[in-house]
Structure formats: structure tokens, C-alpha cells
């Protein structure tokens, strides 16, 4: 069974590759390349897979998942300028793809034990655009 928890944060970012000329960044990222930055209300959905515990009826303790998301994602990213304040986005372009991968990387260590397994991280940059990351293992097969 899959269970999904949602979290939200608002942040600014710039999408541009530091070494590229401005025209090339404009061509690649459009208005997202504006060097002064712009912002989004990001929505993160974390989906976990597992069997409900026969006693508690829960796949995992959602309070714990909320704490993990707050500590690893919302607190460090909410109302921040991602490129300047949230590593690794000083060195990596904070596209919605890279955000999904980074959020996975931050929360995956909390799912290493037996029990619920991290299935997907979905990041909405807007209502009309989202990226999903499922980890690397299933894809390499």
C-alpha cells in the first residue's frame, strides 16, 4: 500500500549555468534565468510503500514523516533563496528535477531500516509542472 504526505515551502531560485553566456541561459531556461531570481510555492509529495501494521493499522508513523520533512526540507528551504542559501544549489542548478533528487537524497537515510520503503518524491513547481524521482535502482534494471 502507498501512503503520501504533502509538505509546502516557498522559495526563490535562478535557473542558469554559471559558465554559460546569458543568451544561452535565456534560451535554455527562459524567464527562469532572470539573474535576480524569482519564486515559487513548491509542493512536495512523499510517497511511502509498505504493509499496514496489524496492530496500529499504519504503514508508518505520519507524525515522524512530518518531522523528517520539516527538518530536512521545509526548515532549510522555506523562504530561502535556493542558489545562495541551500547547498548543493550553490553548485547545482535548482531545477524542479534537481529539487526532487535532492529531497529524496535528504530523506532517504530515514528509510533504510525494515518497514516502510520510500517510493517516490514528487515536487510541484506550479500546478502545471512537476517532477518525480523514484531513486535509481529500479531504473538501472
Amino acid at each position: 500500500m502507498y501512503i503520501t504526505k504533502r509538505a509546502e515551502f516557498s522559495a526563490s531560485h535562478v535557473c542558469s549555468v554559471p559558465g554559460f553566456p546569458e543568451e544561452r541561459n535565456r534560451a535554455l531556461y527562459g524567464s527562469a534565468a532572470n539573474p535576480h531570481g524569482h519564486g515559487h510555492n513548491y509542493v512536495v509529495e512523499v510517497t511511502v510503500e509498505g504493509a499496514p501494521d496489524p496492530v496500529t493499522g499504519m504503514v508508518l508513523d505520519l507524525k515522524r514523516l512530518k518531522e523528517i520533512l520539516n527538518r530536512e526540507v521545509v526548515e532549510p528551504m522555506d523562504h530561502r533563496f535556493l542558489n545562495r542559501e541551500v547547498p548543493p544549489f550553490d553548485a547545482k542548478v535548482p531545477t524542479v528535477e534537481n529539487l526532487a533528487i535532492e529531497i529524496w537524497r535528504r530523506i532517504a537515510p530515514h528509510f533504510t531500516g525494515a518497514g516502510a520503503r520510500l517510493h517516490a518524491v514528487r515536487v510541484y513547481e506550479s500546478e502545471d509542472l512537476y517532477a518525480e524521482y523514484f531513486g535509481e535502482a529500479p531504473w538501472s534494471a
Binding site: 535557473c15 549555468v17 535554455l28 527562459g30 547545482k92 542548478v93 535548482p94 531545477t95 524542479v96 528535477e97 534537481n98 526532487a100 533528487i101 500546478e127 502545471d128 509542472l129 512537476y130 517532477a131 518525480e132 524521482y133 523514484f134 535509481e136 531504473w139
Partner: protein, 151 residues
């Protein structure tokens, strides 16, 4: 690999009716959707693509190329049209959500290799929401798009 989903919208009219059934059978099967004058919906289309994230740009897809392809192959023909009367896709099949999603998948697949000559990302899934209460999803097998890319 990351899956990226982009949402688009179009408005269109249609009528659900098949020549294979009698008038009474059509009415009973399709209900209000069989109204001879047709009716319309604000459709929401989801196009999901899967590909590796370019380590330099952080992108899995050229969104401008995807938007241009969807606009040209789908929205330009579907938006503010009567699907039954104006689109050859539905000359021989009923424009149910299922068939509309399949037609959109065919249209995007046949031009995919031109839009994405590097062979990535791949077209992964088509979602189509006809009303807030009805939606379909079509997962595209890896093989299907690959064959179409090569043809």
C-alpha cells in the same frame, strides 16, 4: 532518471455514439453523452516524460520543445473543436476519454523523434481529465515508443 509531468488544457465538444449499436442502445450506454447535438468539456492533459537529468543544466527535458510539440500536434487541432466532426482521429472511433488519450499518444509518438532527436526523454504517460470526476491514464510501454522512434 526523473519523470517530469506537464499539464495543458483544451476545450472541445464531442458526442459519444457508435454506428455499431442501435439508437436505443447508444442512449442506454452513453446516457447524456449521447445527446445528438453534442456537449463539451474543459480537458486537462498531462504529458509525462522520463529521462536522465543533464548534470550541467539540471534538466530532463527541453520544456520549450515539449510545449511546441504538444501545441502543434494536439492543442492546435483539439482546442475549441468538435472532436467528432473535425478530427480524422475520431472518424472511425468514439471520442471517449480513453480514445482521446490514445489518439494524443499516437500523435505525440509519431513526431517524438523529430522533437527529441537525442532519443531522450521518452514519452512515459498520458493523463486526460475530462471533468473533475473523470480521468484516464495511459502508460506507454518503453518498447512502443522505441519502435516508433526508430520507424
Amino acid at each position: 532518471m526523473v519523470r517530469l509531468t506537464r499539464r495543458y488544457r483544451f476545450s472541445a465538444s464531442h458526442r459519444l455514439h457508435t454506428g455499431a449499436l442501435s439508437e436505443a442502445e447508444n442512449r442506454s450506454l452513453y446516457g447524456k453523452c449521447n445527446n445528438p447535438y453534442g456537449h463539451g468539456h474543459d480537458y486537462t492533459l498531462e504529458v509525462a516524460v522520463t529521462g536522465p537529468v543533464d548534470p550541467e543544466t539540471g534538466c530532463a527535458v527541453d520544456l520549450e520543445a515539449l510545449d511546441a510539440l504538444v501545441r502543434r500536434e494536439v492543442l492546435a487541432d483539439f482546442d475549441h473543436r468538435n472532436l467528432n466532426e473535425e478530427l480524422p482521429d475520431f472518424a472511425a472511433c468514439v471520442p471517449t476519454s480513453e480514445n482521446v488519450a490514445a489518439a494524443i499518444a499516437r500523435r505525440l509518438s509519431r513526431r517524438w523523434a523529430e522533437a527529441f532527436p537525442e532519443g531522450r526523454p521518452r514519452l512515459d504517460r498520458i493523463g486526460l481529465r475530462e471533468t473533475p470526476r473523470n480521468s484516464v491514464a495511459l502508460a506507454l510501454p518503453r518498447r512502443l515508443t522505441k519502435e516508433q522512434d526508430e520507424s
